[in-house]
């Protein structure tokens, strides 16, 4: 159960990332901790339907991002997101690196021209285009899409975390249509998608952090 204190607070969305926000560094450290704590689990999920390195790759990327956390946090919002995306791109590798990088870079670009709610939708669309994935394909998109939709309606932080968890669980009965898992056909059914799981973990971290923002 999520922190009850969070429940009735509207999510401040990414707008909480005001320029030079020292708390962005806090978010980065928390994201790294969550990914590092679950790297083994993510590798196991990936081993079931992919190549088994999702946790290892994500941990490598977020470790590199963590090293630069304070420098990234000192940048103006759009540049901070661009730089964070660039670091993840250069260090995660695999199929997840470009997807994580695309999300942050597209978000950084979109935030300078439109409201946060719409910027998230645009960033998720960029990730879907990059991976040529649609909802229901058993990918990270199955978590990002409902999360972006909830952000757009101004949902509370705690409900964002709940929505991400439910969306992650919903990938279990899906048959994979993108990525290495697609080669397994019906045998991909019955496993949670590792990308959906890491996205849900990060959504939880983000929700906790966002709820503490002024």
């Amino acid at each position: 159960m999520a922190d009850a204190r969070l429940a009735d607070r509207p999510a401040p969305m990414i707008a909480a990332l005001h320029p030079g926000a020292p708390d962005l560094a806090v978010l980065i450290h928390a994201a790294h901790a969550a990914i590092a704590d679950h790297a083994g689990e993510l590798d196991r999920l990936d081993a079931a339907i992919g190549d088994g390195d999702h946790g290892t790759n994500m941990r490598r990327g977020f470790a590199a991002l963590q090293v630069a956390a304070e420098d990234v946090a000192a940048l103006p919002q759009a540049e901070a997101l661009q730089e964070a995306g660039r670091i993840l791109l250069m260090t995660i590798g695999g199929a997840s690196g470009p997807l994580a990088a695309t999300l942050l870079m597209a978000l950084g670009r979109a935030l300078s021209v439109r409201p946060a709610s719409e910027a998230w939708r645009e960033a998720v669309a960029a990730v879907a285009a990059r991976g040529r994935a649609s909802p229901g394909d058993k990918t990270v998109i199955d978590v990002l899409t409902p999360v972006a939709a909830a952000l757009e309606t101004g949902a509370a932080a705690a409900s964002i975390a709940r929505i991400a968890d439910a969306a992650c669980a919903a990938t279990r009965p899906m048959q994979a249509r993108r990525g290495r898992a697609a080669a397994l056909g019906v045998r991909s059914i019955g496993h949670i998608d590792p990308g959906a799981r890491s996205a849900a973990l990060l959504a939880q971290v983000w929700a906790k952090w966002a709820a503490k923002q002024p």
Binding site: D51, D53, T56, N57, R60, L89, M90, T91, I92, G93, G94, A95, G97, P98, L99, A101, T102, R130, G131, R178, G179, R180
Partner: protein, 134 residues
């Protein structure tokens, strides 16, 4: 490789496995010698199977030709990372680079043979892609 500016389209081979990438490059060399600027990359920063953007960018540099560069990839991540590399490299060079929708070994051989005859980037890519279903 010769010191004069490359007269032919260059080729980059991107595989999850360095052995496959290098082996494919060896087969290309056997066909076309050093008539075609050629580079390969495979594996992640910590030497596991996979692909990553910095290595792809470096390979494009090594195989660069003013007439363009064709990239051959194996599985999905190689393609996604190559697309990302094109976004990073800047519009000016990116418009002279194509990612081929073709099987990596056969596509590389066909593309290299075409390129060695002085064909344009479009012709090189089309020749490699004749091997693809649909």
């Amino acid at each position: 490789m010769s010191n004069r500016p490359a007269a032919n389209v260059g080729l980059v081979i991107v595989s999850h496995s360095p052995l496959i990438a290098q082996g494919t490059a060896d087969m290309v060399r056997q066909m076309v010698g050093d008539e075609v600027p050629l580079a390969w990359c495979g594996g992640t920063a910590d030497n596991t199977l996979g692909t990553h953007v910095p290595a792809i960018l470096a390979a494009i540099d090594r195989a660069w030709s003013e007439r363009g560069v064709a990239i051959l990839v194996d599985l999905g991540g190689a393609e996604t990372n190559s697309e990302m590399a094109l976004e990073m490299i800047g519009v000016e060079r990116a418009r002279r680079i194509r990612i081929c929708n073709a099987p990596i070994v056969e596509g590389a051989i066909m593309a290299a043979t075409e390129a060695s005859g002085g064909a344009s980037l479009e012709a090189v890519v089309a020749t490699a892609e004749e091997l693809s279903p649909l």
